[in-house]
């Protein structure tokens, strides 16, 4: 559904110029980036750029990741123990 009432969604004091093809919001001249006749707002372009750049960089040696790794070792140990106990039952 198209939002707003002819006013820019990001700058309500300005008159809207077009509609973002992705979020369907009314946007003003400053907020519009037009490519091949298609309007996009700055925030949708930012999201597109983020998607193109891929996932964010990860910090490996954080406390959370080390605890997760230790939990992982525990999970694999329990899994191997259960599987080998099942195998010894045969």
């Amino acid at each position: 559904m198209i939002q707003g009432s002819g006013r820019c969604h990001y700058h309500p004091e300005r008159t809207g110029l077009g509609i973002c093809v992705e979020c369907r919001r009314v946007i003003c001249r400053e907020c519009t980036t037009q490519f091949e006749g298609i309007n996009r707002c700055a925030s949708c372009l930012g999201k597109r750029l983020q998607a193109l750049e891929g996932p964010a960089e990860r910090r490996d040696w954080s406390v959370g990741n080390v605890l997760l790794a230790l939990l992982g070792v525990g999970v694999v140990y329990v899994g191997v123990w259960v599987l080998s106990t099942m195998a010894s039952g045969f």
């Binding site: 040696w61 080390v66 997760l68 080998s84």
Partner: protein, 272 residues
Amino acid sequence: MAVSALELRPRGAVAILDAGLRVCVRSSGVWALTLPGGALVTAALLHLTEAVSRNHDLGLPALGFTLAWMARGLFQGAACHHVQELLLGKGAGEPTAWSSLRAALARAPSLLTAVAYLFVFNALSLSVSLGFAFLFLSSHLVGYAATLQGKGSALGLYGTCSRLLGPARSTATGVRVLLLAQVLVFFNLHIAANALLYVGRKLIGIDLTFAERFASLDNAPWVVFLVAATFTLFEPLRAATSTLLLVDGRVRQEGLDLLAAVQQLSVKGARG
């Protein structure tokens, strides 16, 4: 860029397996980084099998196998880093195995989490789908190579792999199916071992009755040994193909082949 831009192009599953084999043949570093992990897993698996067949306490052998499996994950990560440096590294010459091992240790927590993630993911997906997941869930084939990229959450590994692979996801399924050639290697190893024993008995005249009885497919420890040996032999190929699949994903999504061609043109221009 270590390889020629002409070698970076979108490839099918067979071409990726072929390129992986060539990487394994040319680089001793991949073998140096994967064989220790394979040997540890083989030894731990034989110890576990012995404990299971003799009804011993399973606590310690299971712990040994778990640690070996974790170490194998670290070595796989190091091998993936090594192959990536071989293909895309900026330095001249082959990277050292030690530098790849250091790179894997820098990402050790995520690699260990990836080992557990893949263990649970494979167990759940294959058991719930009665094995059909093998044919339609293959992105995690590049799990260790994707972890080494240092992007995305460790718990969202499958999503990260899918995103990095992009259109190369279907190629990953093809590579996974082609890696079933391991079954052929398993039987070939068995036949080769029995042929050696036969030759030893006939030509040299040694009494190998006990060894021949051990090397039989109805002997569980022998089957386990063959499975582990086959698994170990395929470790370098697994690391090489997963890295090549990620490179293929970048070629298809980012135009890595074109970027490499432009880079190499500018280098040639500077020399000329």
